[in-house]
Symmetry: C2
Subunit: 258 residues, 2 copies
DNA sequence: CGCTGCTTTGAACAACTTCAACTTCTGTGG
DNA sequence: CCACAGAAGTTGAAGTTGTTCAAAGCAGCG
């Protein structure tokens, strides 16, 4: 895989940072797909489309043509109820896949907006499907990614259906921390890409509640919060709050930092 | 199973009732797949596996090998939080696809249980993937079904995140009514396959609240409820409650009751 | 026929929201 | 570089919605 042909293949074969964790490219990690396949894939991708903060990648109801991988920055997707209010469905960080909910109806089921300056790679879906016909690993990878999305949604439903406000915020923070770490950033100290309002919306709470929770978590020594900058001071306790299995057991050992 | 190959094909080519609406078979409606492909598909399916009320089809964490289509009856799937309580993720009626959330991790992300006497068709996933490699329409159909699941999940998140108790129950009833109609049953009068507890769990409410809502909806003339038997008396009003677009318009100017 | 589990109803309570006021950031133009 | 305006965030107090606890009514089933 190291022997590369030139052109835009370079982006993918020697990934600068985000590509390394790109959902679609994980196939090469698994050795299921050979270099020519990656070249084919790369040839149909529109790389690093830049997005300003607040810019929409697509709107709910628009015809579905492509899926996207976040290359840098962060995005949110949301659905609108008929009386106008939004429900944020998910946040996406670099390497994560956005926009797969349009396959069934042929139009996007949600809107996607950049949370800050961001860039995405656009993958025309029809071409991807054609390609998947020839590359066995790719088909599996596509199903995998959609399955992952479903899994994530199920987790969110558990959060919205059963968890208290404390548990919801703790769960979100841990999820973000884990995903930052997956990208090679610190899981202990990070910058929230979204506003309090967005967090509240996603968690099904009022933004005042979220604000109060941050203050309380800080008072309790769980976090140090300074605007959007968050530092996790007591991971073990945060995990207990979020309901992570076995989180209580570890605290005896002076709070192992996973 | 091996000796029944001929009959299997017949089941699918001349579907008795549920098969007509089977998520996987919708490809033939669209003319994308020819009869031989359906025969291939049918050959790998284990047809009409019977399930007693309360029987589990699979448990969360079990290795993922197959997906299932409900042939008759109804199912629920749920995830468990670490402190033990369940969140019902979805209800499935005849023709609907269960169990696609296991592709990514290789183990089921939720448990599936029959709500009453039910039967399902089991489709080994690996074989299906292989088949999809040869049948273009099938690949698309698989992606479609998963995308549909994601869409449904997004709707549920909106429900759990933003809707009031009234809106939640109204939404569920309308969803069930629509799906019963899709199967050729009455959308106005039907039998709820699940308990009040299950409804409450799914809607993120206490079961007492659901009970009170049913009573109030009946008092308000929206429904006639007798245990699990439900008759919708004022569909328009129920749609307004659930927030269906344009539902107010249909009732005429008089309909601005909310 | 008398369980046992499901459902309904009432009353007190808790969690979260709403409303309102205030503070802190951020970006823009002088 | 500072001043200012608007947005975002914080905090308090009152208000709602839905929960919890408790008890009674029903239905299906051995």
């Amino acid at each position: 895989m190291a022997e590369t042909t030139h052109r835009n293949v370079i982006d993918l074969v020697a990934p600068p940072h985000a590509c390394r964790h790109c959902g679609l490219l994980q196939l090469c990690d698994h050795g299921q797909v050979t270099t020519p396949a990656i070249e084919q894939l790369s040839a149909i991708v529109r790389h690093r489309v830049p997005l300003a903060r607040g810019a929409a990648l697509f709107h709910e109801g628009e015809p579905f043509r492509s899926i996207y991988v976040v290359f840098s920055g962060a995005m949110k997707t949301f659905t609108c109820s008929y009386d106008g209010d939004e429900q944020i469905v998910a946040f996406y960080l670099a390497g994560e896949l956005v926009g797969v909910d349009g396959v069934h109806t042929g139009s996007h089921g949600s809107s996607a907006v950049a949370l800050d300056r961001a860039s995405v790679c656009e993958i025309p879906f029809e071409k991807l499907e054609t390609l998947a016909q020839d590359i066995p690993g790719l088909l599996h990878q596509m199903l995998c990614m959609m399955s992952k999305e479903i899994l994530q949604d199920e987790e969110t439903m558990l959060l919205l259906g059963k968890k208290t406000a404390d548990e919801r915020l703790a769960s979100l923070l841990l999820s973000l921390a884990r995903r930052f770490r997956e990208q090679g950033y610190s899981a202990q100290e990070f910058h929230l890409p979204m506003s309090r309002d967005d967090i509240a919306n996603y968690l099904g709470l009022a933004h005042e509640t979220v604000s109060r929770l941050f203050s309380r978590f800080q008072r309790q020594g769980l976090l140090t919060v300074r605007g959007k900058h968050v530092c996790v001071n007591n991971l073990a306790q945060l995990e207990i709050l979020a309901g992570v299995p076995g989180a209580g057991a570890k605290t005896g050992r002076a709070g192992q930092i996973i």
